[in-house]
């Protein structure tokens, strides 16, 4: 890769001053929206800056403005100075710095348009005017950097896993040999193993090529694993900056940020009057904890989470179900599973394991090609989707696929109205669902004009309003900040306490560990593990095979060689167990 060009070492690679970005008002609102408000920023050559913050903080807008694409290819107006690699990006035609600034968008599907891996990477090189003779070496190099060397060159990008698609978009950007790489939420929607791969690829890039990287990220573990510096954006303002330790040591949770689990553990230890531990990663937590010898060997603890209520009737019964979208590629292969009424179960597994396909079977959008599904004891073969919707509420992975009404209120009312509710009962139901997700202020807004995270909450409120006995949520917390996550989890806990059966599809192992009674792991369309989270997280080989990772509590206990420290699988439980084990007294 080329050196950092003519930019002097002391000159920042990215220099932003007084950056303001305004979006025009969307009816019924009459005021413009200030997405970025007087932002100042300097990024040194070769540095890695993470931009994090609560939802609607202006992160994506900042990425597009730095790349010189907003506002000219989007809506809005911009003021202030943005210099990247010595160029004023707002004064040159959009895209004219593509060989200096690489951009990887959050959803790779919007970026990958050709029909083979090699064509996808070659397309940018053709735009650069690179000679065809030089292309194969450059393509191999870019694919290698992105960790895609083993992927067949003629494979259609749309058949790659979610993680591979993101890395292909990265390879396509790297092939142009940019000086600056901008990534918008590089880990969003990826299974844990794919997230780890992405981190490894970006780390290797930094070490080998001294590339300047700016990325937006909600996952605190990714931020701490990659970034030298962190900028916290809140409603367009820079509300915090520093290295990850400084940023996560301040009161970031109030700003709607999630803390890394290791930092939560350390904070719990301190809050309980324990030693002054500080840690961002599990390795740092283990290193800090190692200074205190274990004096009371904890007795092995069974998973503290209670098993499902005994002898409960089965809410969902899946018996030897097979399904394939294409005869050569079966997705569900003889799946058998029973979920008792009132159970809170999580379904997890690698991207493409069959989780979403299974969820679609539970509302009748797909029908088993072989096998039987029963809901509340009743076979679904003769049930219409309308009848199934009375029993199961499904929130889709992508809220874009769920929202279509002109206002948020209408959107939330759609489901219960179809189920026969009207008049005051309907109004009350809609009001309660809007309140549960903090959406009152948006009731008359068009959902399409809202941010992605707010649209996700609208989609969930639409399911909440249906008040079904079984709730299936497909990755409901992706893209939500701590406040949004809390709203979703509070609602789920309430529904669970009221006797609803919950099936939560997630890649978030901390979430599965802390909330579920039961954890089901899918691998290639079959069940690879099924038990309490504590039992499932004990099968390390299976977790690796399924692209998953154990949560902080398991990794901490394992690295300390004290498996009995695993209490209730949360950082708080681990902190309490560890304080007892070291016999800490205030």
């Amino acid at each position: 890769m080329r050196p950092a060009g003519r930019v002097h070492e002391n000159t920042p690679m990215i220099h932003v001053r007084d950056l303001c970005y305004t979006y025009p008002p969307t009816p019924p609102a009459t005021l413009s929206v200030l997405a970025l408000d007087g932002l100042n920023l300097d990024v040194a050559p070769g540095a890695c800056l993470a931009i994090t913050g609560p939802n609607s903080s202006g992160r994506t807008t900042l990425c597009l403005a730095l790349a010189g694409l907003a506002p000219r290819l989007t809506a809005g107006t911009v003021s202030g100075t943005i210099l990247v690699d010595g160029h004023d990006v707002q004064s040159v035609p959009p895209g004219s710095l593509a060989d200096r600034i690489g951009l990887v968008l959050q959803d790779p599907a919007g970026q990958l348009f050709t029909q083979s891996v090699v064509d996808e990477v070659a397309w940018g090189l053709e735009n650069l005017g690179l000679s065809p003779a030089e292309m194969p070496a450059r393509i191999d190099w870019a694919l290698g950097l992105a960790g895609l060397s083993g992927v067949p060159l003629d494979q259609p990008p749309q058949t790659l896993s979610g993680g591979q698609q993101k890395r292909l978009a990265l390879a396509a950007a790297l092939a142009l040999e940019p000086h600056v790489l901008i990534l918008d939420e590089p880990s969003a929607g990826l299974a844990p193993a794919a997230r780890t791969e992405m981190v490894a690829v970006l780390r290797a890039l930094r070490e080998s090529h001294r590339l300047t990287i700016v990325f937006t990220e909600s996952d605190p573990e990714i931020v701490t694993a990659l970034a030298d510096e962190v900028l916290v954006l809140t409603a367009g303002h820079g509300t915090g900056a520093g290295n990850p330790a400084e940023v996560y040591a301040s009161a970031v949770e109030q700003a709607g940020l999630r803390l890394p689990p290791a930092a939560r553990f350390a904070a719990e230890v301190r809050a309980a009057g324990g030693p002054e531990l500080h840690a961002l990663t599990v390795e740092q937590a283990v290193e800090a904890a190692s200074s205190y010898p274990i004096v009371v060997r904890p007795s092995p603890v069974q998973a503290a989470v209670s098993p499902s209520r005994p002898a409960a009737r089965e809410a969902v019964k899946i018996d030897d179900v097979h399904f394939a979208y294409h005869p050569d590629y079966p997705v569900l292969r003889g799946l058998t599973l029973a979920i008792p009424q009132g159970q809170f179960a999580t379904l997890t597994g690698d991207n493409g394991a069959g989780k979403t396909t299974l969820a679609r079977h539970l509302v009748g959008l797909l029908r088993p090609q072989k096998g039987i599904i029963r809901l509340m004891g009743e076979e679904t073969r003769r049930m219409s989707t309308g009848e199934m919707a009375r029993r199961v509420g499904l929130a889709f992975q992508n809220p874009e696929n769920q929202i279509f009404s002109p206002t948020v209120r209408e959107e939330v009312a759609f489901g219960p109205r179809n189920l026969g509710l009207s008049g005051t009962a309907l109004d009350d139901t809609v009001r309660a669902a809007l309140a549960a997700f903090g959406l009152h202020d948006f009731a008359e807004h068009p959902p399409a004009a809202l941010t992605f995270s707010t649209r996700r909450l609208v989609a969930l409120a639409g399911i909440a309003a249906m008040d079904t006995p079984v709730i299936v949520l497909d990755e409901p917390t992706v893209g939500l900040d701590a406040h949004g996550q809390e709203a979703v989890l509070n609602w789920l806990e309430q529904r669970h306490a009221a006797g609803a059966t919950i099936l939560l599809i997630t890649h978030d192992m901390e979430l599965a560990a802390s909330h579920a009674e039961r954890m089901i792991v899918l691998l290639d369309g079959q069940i690879a593990a099924d038990g309490t989270p504590g039992e499932v997280f004990g099968h390390r080989d299976m977790l690796r095979q399924a692209g998953l990772e154990a949560p902080f509590a398991c990794r901490f206990a394992e690295m300390l060689a004290e498996p009995a420290l695993i209490a209730d699988l949360t950082p708080r439980g681990t902190a309490q167990a560890w304080l007892q084990a070291i016999a800490w007294k205030r």
């Binding site: 599907a109 029909q115 064509d119 142009l176 279509f404 399409a448 399911i463």
Partner: protein, 258 residues
Amino acid sequence: MSAVTAGFYQPGNSWLYRLDPRTRLLAAVVVVSVCLLLPRISLLAGTILLAHLILLAGGIRWRVLLETWIRLAPLLLLILLLQPLFSPPGGIEYARFGPLRITQWGLLNGLRYALRLAAVAFVMLVPVLTTPINHLVRAFEKLGLPYTWGLTIGLALRYLGAIGDLYSGIAQAQQARGWDPSGGHGPIQRAQMLVPTLVAVIIATLRLSEALALGLSARGMTLDRPRTHREDIRFGWIDGVALGAVLALAVLIVWLMG
């Protein structure tokens, strides 16, 4: 498979794929022109059959053709039902509803229009199913169109299928929330449902196109440099023979039936 599908292109490496994309495109244009010039029922039916044989011999799975028929079915049915009612009278009259009459000519007209649509669709499927987007764009470019025009046509074809997927995704979401399209709703209620669904599809399509514009610009689409091509298309002697044969057949048919 992601929400955005691979478009219509079906990967393959048969004799049909090895022809130059210009051959497939120009041959399809010639055949479609003949179908539009001479809308004879026998010729249209024969063209549909020939297109099926070429596609199957070229390695396209019959399931793809069946799916095309299923997608076309509502439109073909509409033409078959409405065309006889509005055709000029002629031949035997089978029924009369006020000013509307169902006649032999009307029925034949309906059949002719439906077959013409199916013939055009299946003939155009030959280049569309067998040509990756970069070759299609290059073919347009070599036929004289500016690169950006060719890319626009290629992307439109590429994402046409994705728009269908967006529609079915939203329709599925409505069903998952209790909307039962076969559950006794009247035509007015169904039509009322159609409007917000189409609005949502349009919004989702606009989002998709904005993301695509950003993605393409970020990868140098607007760089002011002469483009190169990793793999160029080549018009060989076999292409000359194939295109010549199609042209000769077209001239013969026009001469015999015209």
